[in-house]
Amino acid sequence: MTNVKVDITVNGRTTTDDVEPRLLLAHYLRENLGLKATNIGCDTTSCGACTVLLDGESVKSCTVLAVQADQLAVTTMEGLAGESGDSLDNPVTAAFRAEHGLQCGFCTPGMVMAVTGLIAENPDLDERAVREGLEGNLCRCTGYHNIVRAALVAAGKDPDAEQEIEAESDAARTAPGFSAGSGS
């Protein structure tokens, strides 16, 4: 296999390398660039631990070849941490901390990027939209409760109020007189 030259802007910096055509973007980030926040949790594009932004849209970097990202811009969680590399000024990462939206941290970089992408797409999120928007990102630790809250906070919402509304919509569904059932 002949290697292919790629130029990829990663977190605002131009990177370039000769890579195998089959090299996954996730591995390019982790191995070639040493950016190890992005994790790999599966081999079927199911878990989202590898989620990054590609030209602003969230993608699973285990399912993109490095050569496909040639001439494009990638943002990983490291890219949200400012020049110093340790800033928590970003509204998404700050919300994850405040709401305890992470435990073991393995899903976290992917979750953070997925939430970032979600808010960019639709800033007016409610709990349902967050839950459905994060369907491709698995977390084994948090039961998603606090991840959903973190996403709502990052979107400028009051998580208590949003959770209340969602819970009441369940109540409405289960209340007498309201039913999607056929009644037969």
Binding site: T44, H145, S184
Partner: protein, 756 residues
Amino acid sequence: MSIMGTRVVRVEDPVFLTRGATYTDDLTDERLTGALHLTLVRSPIAHATITSIDVEAAREAPGVVAVLTGADIDLEAPLLFAGAPKQMVRPWLATERVRFVGEPVAAVLTEERYQGPDAAELVDVDYEPLPAVVDVREALKDENLLFPDAGTNTCSVYNKEDPDPDFFADCEVVVTREIINQRVAAASLETRAASAAWGDDGRCTLFVSNQNAQGARDEVAGWLGVDASQIHVILPDVGGGFGAKIGADPEFALVAWLARHTGRPVRWSESRSENMTGMVQGRDQRQTITIGGSRDGRVKAYRLDVIADAGAYPRLGVFLPVFTRMMAPGTYDIEKVDSRATVVVTNTTSTAAYRGAGRPEATSAIERAMDLFAAEIGMDPAEIRKINVVAPEKFPFTTKGGVEYDSGEYAKAIDLALEASDYATLREVQKARRERGDAKQIGIGVSSYVEITGGGAFAENASLEVHADGTALVWTGTSPHGQGHATAWAMLASEQLGIPVDKITVRHGDTDHVPRGGGTMGSRSLQTGGVAVHQASLELIDLAKARAAEILEASVEDLEVDTANAAIVVRGAPGSPTVSFAQLAEREELKVQTVFDGKKATFPFGSHVAVVEVDTETGKVTVERIWAVDDAGPVLNPLLCEGQRHGGIAQGIAQALLEEVVFDPDGQPLTATFADYGFPSAAELPSFDLVTMETPTPINPLGFKGIGEAGTIGSAPAVQSAVVDALSHLGIRHIDMPTTPLRVWEAIQDAVKEDG
């Protein structure tokens, strides 16, 4: 102001949210420079004899440094569970026979990561298939043996006494049923990983993803036949464990052995597909429950018969029925309790601990039994539970199985859950829907549970040192992998010393620094390791006072801690000289090392109410709400405690509704990827309603019990019960977990048929 009980955000998070955590596969440690990558060739067949292994082509592949088979390894094959028949050893790499899909057959070492799978494909193994034993009843027949030398597939029997035929003689009503607590995968998001490097000093540094560094060190050393002091285990950040990362995996020792054999560091990190067959799995009990009592709702006798599946090579799963038997009667005060368990090997992945480990199996069984009994006598499921739970004045309460429950108020927990959920209204809603004959019905499930935490190792150690710059360092024998001990342990030290949390560093998981430690498992950490940090803080204060007495020219009795200034002061003498911990540390090392031994386990308890909606036309179940009362004593940090409960509840719901590890009759895994396994996403789950209740234990000075597994233990039976309850008007009494749309739909079809 006390920091106890406050929502301190995690000190772990800034790194995790910027550079990301450092898991084993992320390591750039210089000891691993030039490491080889290990790729394991795994058996694609569940049961077969190996007729030949040809590695020549693989040896010629680009980047290959070595390809080894079992014939190349000079270590004795280990027995992975001490109590199992001694013939049931697991080969390092199978040479004669494979016993499950995923069993390692050959090891390929390459210079680059991508070269490994390429070369592994060239390893040519000839298998002669044998009939696979997948079902536990089939295994019990001993017709096809996994280990012919052992002469049986049974690896353990608990309680060999024949059941008393008159056990239920004085019961007006007796109900019996076989139920399945299905096999599930721990599915930690980080798969297993290990890296090893031998130094010039003849010691091996072994980095592993695990829940207990010290335990892993001892096992690996034993398997390699070296002294434990020769193995230095370091745990980098660990991406979840849930019980499946307790104890060393044989792969860890293989990595260390290969590193010694090749003279180069070796790295290994498995793929998810490997993980879904290679990492131990949980639960998998076939249970027969029999419950008897009187028509007024009083349960008099309960029997639990278990057949548990150990998988191909016995591991911790063989032990877990012990916990199941211990906790068989649950929260109930039952006159007669009887249980027995048999554990067999099958041609499947080995089983071991998974969140709850033996206790969820007990809880689900007794909770199903209570529901079946209630349905039989026409009593409300909440009511029957309240009639039968242990009364608060009976604590400490010794069960018929001889287990001493420390403290509890079981009926109160049920009441709190009923109140929070407005249970009476839910029943009215249900009634209205039934009367209308809606296609979408709701079901309400109530669970009452008690579990055992800190049931393995009762003691834990901690060291605490204050430095001259005013910072402090804690080393703990616990092994957090998401639980937030760095924050929680710092809070405990800060409470006593007054040193701010952000100036206290908590470290763990390095056997050179903490030679002894029990790790994090069985919800033991806070009540053992946390209390040890508290005790270390008190001991450090005593030491500081003794030294300060000389400096301040006061008697020790007159000294106290001024937490506002992290200093020792003379009581009731404002303005008199003081000396800070930092100043004391400047003069002389200020450090203590202690062991706290609670000597006993604790018994958290609670009650969950779940509401599900079941679409009777499709069988689809949606969890609408779940209210959880989980009482684990005083809460140190509500943020962390709630996080543990959320995660636990989600895993319990997942078992009740979605998850199951499935093997076909040939032992082929049908759920070996995340595309096939029913791991829930945020879209399948609701937010959770948590209700607070705090009943301290007398077992330790802070009253703490464990919270790690409670959510799972309480939620699975509540949700399963709710699904059945939604369909009880059709005469349905039970549906096995997971209550998938297919299963629910089939149950409805069967019920309708019987009715017609």
